[in-house]
Symmetry: C2
Subunit: 441 residues, 2 copies
């Protein structure tokens, strides 16, 4: 019998620490990202966890031949950190010795080591395991880590408890036909469209809860905004006095997260040339007013008074940015007919709900609102909608045995990331997208 | 148009801060957890986000009648914090005024406000939205938050990048029949049994990655250890020199997480009466030796030389704890026949793999190992197993275009939580369990 020791884990030197080793020999590992032959020497770019490190190969110092290096081989190298004022980073990394750990079978069919991967979106996604190795492609997902991390940090500070709710469910929460079904040991089951029912139940337990997890929508839309599986950032909070408190919480969450990115993800923000939006006070506008404003401003006919067209969301954002400087806008009081059965209606006008969407750079990134907490009110609404109350017994348990006034929201992580990165298709901010045509890789 | 202000969010006073308000009036909100009538006064327990706060009701001070209070109603109260040396917390909370926010329709059919919920596991789970309101029941999940939080903190420090991989997939990663299938726009698709393929691909991108997300297993076992959906903590790391590095990483992760719980979750550890295991050096034993050790020590016949029986895992843990004091044990070198096609075989003996399980208090909580990174080696193994290489083209892309030596593991969050809480059924540590008979709530 042996033992596994609690050693201090050796990470090796991180690229970010190299400047502390001036004049010293260091050992680095990584993938050979790009070899650029010059006259008499070569630049060898090494891709590490978070950086691409430029090394200099010269026969004079190296104990190996340049020909031994192949792009996308993985290596361990010994190098010397030499002061070099002409370099952007202030030093030069002179390659000394080489150990090859693995070699690719062949050259990648897509060039991944240029500034951008020059390929159609289909090719980019078909070769995702490779194209993600591009410095900028992967930076999008490092930044996405930061967004989720910023949300979590903020929500923990605000005393939200993280939960893990089931994704295989007996009832869809959002209604409609856009739900995947599966055979669950002979019973029909579904993939959760949202953690709605569960996060509400957990408000009765922890008062404030959140979850960052996949949700599934069987929508047949093939657009730049739709995914059939995405990562939903959901929070739900009890003891609210108005649904505006949820919007305030989201404003603060977004603001805190942008600061978090500024502090810890400068590298990716710089690489992707992102200027973070500034959040001071997010403008709010009622749904009806927004519809009319867009119609008037752009001389458009309103086709559907009960919902937004994507084009209207874009135009509304343009107006708001022009008139207030804000890239975000809350649209409130959506029509009851377009909101789910659990949405609380405005007591002043039951045709409208105490709900909101948040639009950012022309795209809806959040839907939220206050929920019904009273048992009778919820049952009545189910009945009014012709829904079968029996089906919702386990959901209604919380209302029956007491729930505080509460509400919450869901934010699409990929949508927010894509807009933050100024991408025009949500797939660019989705690691391995699932859409009506895509199930691979 | 209005604006949503960046106000400082008012959380109200947290129960933990009450002692700072000695002699002052405070406003609190929460659920009425329990009312205990005494002679001339009453104890009123208020359930808040993380605490149960004891208040004193007396006609002398209160502006409302005790009869107005109903258990599980949600309220806002004004109270005075009075120095009281006989109290455990050092003060007494004297109720002054009351605002009722909501009332339950009826009394819960399960008594939830005693120390333990006295109910069968089926009743406990059938009434989950209510029984989770029990102070100890919910503490298990607060602790689970801490476990996931501790893992994340450690992995971020070790430069792992968090990823979100798809759960609807075209190919199962773990083989076998225990996979849920669904109709994906006319194509057959599956629910991911693990993020295996994707985390490996992402090692080619970020070198070190992790994911904490749901996985799905269509296993027909109805045992205390099996769930059909659970939360898997997966990490995968590149540039390893041996599979022992993965075990070292896990040891350090567990150690760091236990410290994290000690620092931030003392309240729940105390409430649940948990003594955290101590990790110094985790013993390791080879699979073959472990089988023989258990057979010899307990005079058992070995029925299956290629796998562990649950009883053997229990007995092995007993021996290890007795002889070394450790509640954890790594079992290494599992037979190739029992490991998936991507497991790397031991070059010294190809009947065995460079893999391990981690057992904790009698239960397997982790499976991990080194993976094949060479294209030809992986294709050969697929062929040897009679598998169709064509099916794995998108998985093999990373091998084809270059991968570092790598490996990783998956840890069952609910299993680890249940064992840490000394529960004998994993369902006790699962928020809303899914098993062969349970799809609700």
């Amino acid at each position: 019998m042996n033992t596994i020791k609690q050693i201090v884990i050796k990470n090796g030197i991180e690229a970010e620490e190299l400047k502390n080793f001036m004049g010293k020999k260091v050992t680095l590992h990584g993938s050979i990202y790009k070899i650029r032959k010059m006259s008499g020497f070569a630049f060898v770019l090494l891709r590490t966890k978070r950086a691409v490190v430029q090394c200099i190969y010269s026969e004079e110092f190296a104990t190996f031949a340049l020909e031994e290096l192949v792009e996308e081989s993985t290596v361990k190298v010994e190098a010397e950190v030499i002061l070099e004022e002409r370099s952007k980073v202030g030093y030069e990394l002179r390659l000394l010795s080489l150990k090859i750990l693995s070699k690719p079978l062949e050259e990648a069919p897509v060039v991944i080591h240029n500034k951008l991967v020059e390929a159609s979106i289909d090719t980019l996604l078909n070769y995702r395991p490779i194209t993600l190795r591009n410095e900028r492609e992967r930076a999008i997902f490092k930044l996405q880590e930061g967004i989720a991390g910023g949300f979590r940090k903020f929500l923990a500070e605000q005393k939200f408890t993280e939960i893990h709710s089931p994704k295989i469910v007996q009832m869809g929460a959002e209604g409609g036909a856009n739900i995947f079904s599966l055979n669950y040991f002979g019973k029909e089951a579904y993939l959760a469209q949202s953690p709605q029912f569960y996060k509400q139940m957990m408000v009765g337990v922890f008062e404030r809860v959140y979850e960052i997890a996949p949700v599934f929508r069987a929508e047949k839309h093939d657009t730049s905004r739709h995914l059939n599986e995405y990562t939903s950032v959901d929070f739900e909070m009890g003891y609210i006095e108005s649904f505006e408190e949820i919007m305030q919480m989201e404003s603060c969450m977004l603001k805190a997260t942008l600061s978090y990115l500024k502090e810890y993800y400068q590298k990716e923000l710089f690489l992707l040339n992102i200027s973070l939006p500034v959040i001071e006070e997010i403008p709010t506008i009622r749904f009806n007013e927004a519809k009319e404003l867009v119609a008037k401003e752009y001389n458009r006919t309103i086709c559907d008074m009960s919902d937004f067209e994507p084009e209207e969301e874009k135009l509304l954002c343009e107006i708001i940015e022009r008139t207030t400087g804000s890239e975000f806008v809350f649209v409130t009081h959506y029509p009851s007919s377009k909101r789910p059965f659990y949405a609380m209606e405005d007591p002043k006008n039951t045709e409208e709900t105490l709900s909101f969407d948040l639009l950012f750079r022309g795209l809806e990134i959040t839907t939220g609102g206050q929920r019904i907490h009273d048992f009778k009110e919820q049952v009545d609404k189910l009945l009014k909608r012709g829904m079968n109350v029996e089906d919702f017994q386990s959901y209604l348990m919380m209302h029956r045995y007491g729930m505080p006034p509460h509400g919450g929201l869901g934010l699409g992580l990929e949508r927010f990331t894509s807009k933050l990165c100024n991408q025009n298709n949500v797939r660019y901010a989705t690691l391995f997208p699932r859409d009506i045509n895509r199930l691979q890789p």
